[in-house]
């Protein structure tokens, strides 16, 4: 049993599956996430795969500010993900609310709602920075796995 578990854990770290959730961003960050998937940056060469279902994902990538309506959706997606999981907040908006922090419908950064492991700065961050962020998140997942035994 433990051999199977080891094997699965090894696979998880080699090929992290990312679910991307747009949480009220201006699209600037989203198109950079998509740009990562395309031939010039091509994250698939690191085994990083973008998928639609949070139940299959290891890493949650959140762009944009949290508002009063989508905070429930965000929480819901986070809860659906299996342990261990890591959360990346992306862009000035995801970090603190960015230029919108004072707007009336903005709650603030992603960490107001769910715990965040990695912060990627920029408005929008460059695709290289996003890839770096995912790699960093993997280390967090690894640490969590080791802690869990």
């Amino acid at each position: 049993m433990s051999m199977l578990k080891d094997w699965i854990n090894k696979g998880r770290l080699k090929s992290p599956w990312v679910v991307h959730f747009d949480c009220g961003s201006c699209n600037g960050c989203d198109i950079e996430v998509l740009a990562c998937l395309t031939p010039v940056y091509d994250v698939e060469r690191f085994g990083i795969l973008n998928i639609g279902d949070p139940k299959h994902a290891d890493v949650l990538l959140v762009t944009g500010t949290v508002n009063h309506r989508n905070k429930h959706v965000l929480k819901n997606i986070y809860d659906q993900m299996p342990e261990p999981k890591a959360v990346i907040a992306m862009g000035a908006c995801g970090l603190t609310g960015g230029v919108f922090r004072e707007a009336y419908n903005v709650v603030g950064g992603v960490d107001k709602v769910i715990p965040v492991d990695v912060y990627v700065r920029g408005c929008p961050p460059k695709p290289e920075a996003i890839i770096d962020g995912v790699v960093l998140a993997l280390e967090k997942v690894k640490a969590k796995l080791e802690a869990a035994g």
Binding site: N27, T38, P39, F100
Partner: protein
């Protein structure tokens, strides 16, 4: 048997959260109700604490995909209100950046559309071509997406002669590469069978429901805000692209051919680029009311601005193209097959962060 199906807010073909409630009878959609608000930030209200110069940066972030054109419209409106004479060079540079933005936006959409009906390799190809336009923006402005080149009174950045030659060469490459995929996208049997006759918007409907941009032109109206000649468009040769079928395929063709027009406009703008100042100096406070519109990749963008003589504007009202295209979408959906819903929703090029601001 009636069933209500939720579509979104998190859906693989939609990069952004929009929620549609679809009332379905067997496999046919009978009614569609939108449910918005997942991206609403309320940035029009930020005028209270940000002055008109800072607002340029905020309106750019209404939508990252057409950021440059939002700023262009806002600056032109404020300039009109304060009666600032913008230097000619700035006008031409604004056209250049707007058109590069349009190329990037259309290629992005064409890629997503291809992905929407499952043609993944075409998505990859189009996005590979698009990276050239991103490089153009990064090299000339310093950022890939939100380029912030427009300021009230002119532009912030200049281009050198070397850059000019390089931009022209890149534009040629983009055009050549887009021509290569033209046959695949526009005459492929599977593509046609997914888009032809799907989501038809008749000529009358398009006008009555207030469609804008490729949705309006795809239904046979030759209406493009660039014909009003804002910035330097009045001095360039420009013909709107029109298609007559009004279906998803027609809208796709309009956008595809607009990539060529944009390439052409960049060339014209660079050929006629005059020398001189980049930005005008001014001493005035915005006062009075103005409206202004420009053409975005998704359609006509309309701003209404009211100033009260202080540096804080009293009201900025942004009517974005997708906001105008949602009522036509609600009219297109009833009667279509459930399987076609993603293609039809994508065919209006929805930009939700624009819609809700």
């Amino acid at each position: 048997m009636r069933t209500i199906l939720p579509f979104g807010p998190q859906h693989p073909v939609l990069p952004e959260p929009i929620h549609l409630k679809l009332v379905v009878e067997e496999e046919k959609v009978v009614e569609a109700l939108p449910n918005l608000g997942y991206v609403h930030r309320g940035l029009e209200k930020l005028t209270d604490i940000r002055d008109y110069n800072q607002m340029v940066n905020i309106v750019e972030r209404v939508c990252g995909i057409c950021s440059c054109i939002h700023a262009l419209n806002f600056c032109e409106a404020v300039e009109e209100m304060m009666k600032i004479e913008v230097p000619q060079r700035a006008h031409f540079l604004r056209v250049m950046w707007s058109e590069i933005h349009r190329i990037h936006s259309h290629l992005l959409w064409l890629g997503l559309f291809a992905d929407g009906f499952g043609f993944e390799s075409l998505f990859m190809q189009l996005w590979r071509i698009r990276e050239r336009s991103m490089d153009l923006m990064e090299a000339t402005a310093g950022n890939r997406v939100v380029i912030s080149t427009n300021i009230v009174g002119g532009v912030r950045k200049d281009i050198t002669e070397e850059q000019k030659t390089w931009i022209l060469a890149e534009i040629d490459k983009i055009e050549a590469e887009v021509r290569q995929v033209e046959k695949t996208l526009l005459s492929d049997y599977t593509v046609k069978s997914r888009c032809c006759g799907k989501g038809v918007l008749t000529k009358e409907q398009a006008h009555q429901l207030g469609a804008v941009g490729p949705c309006l032109r795809g239904s046979g109206w030759a209406q493009d805000a660039r014909m009003t000649g804002y910035a330097a468009y009045g001095q360039l040769d420009f013909e709107p692209v029109v298609e007559h079928d009004g279906d998803s395929y027609a809208r796709c063709v309009v956008r595809f051919r607009e990539v060529y027009t944009s390439c052409d406009l960049v060339r014209q703008a660079l050929a006629k680029l005059p020398g001189g100042e980049l930005a005008a100096k001014f001493k005035a406070k915005p006062e009075g009311e103005v409206w202004r519109r420009v053409e975005q990749p998704r359609g006509e963008l309309f701003y209404y601005i009211k100033g009260n003589g202080s540096k804080f504007l009293e009201r900025v009202r942004i009517r974005t193209p997708t906001f105008a295209n949602i009522p036509p979408l609600l009219a297109m959906l009833p009667g279509c097959d459930l399987a076609d819903v993603p293609v039809i929703v994508l065919s209006i090029d929805p930009c939700i962060s624009c819609t809700e601001r």
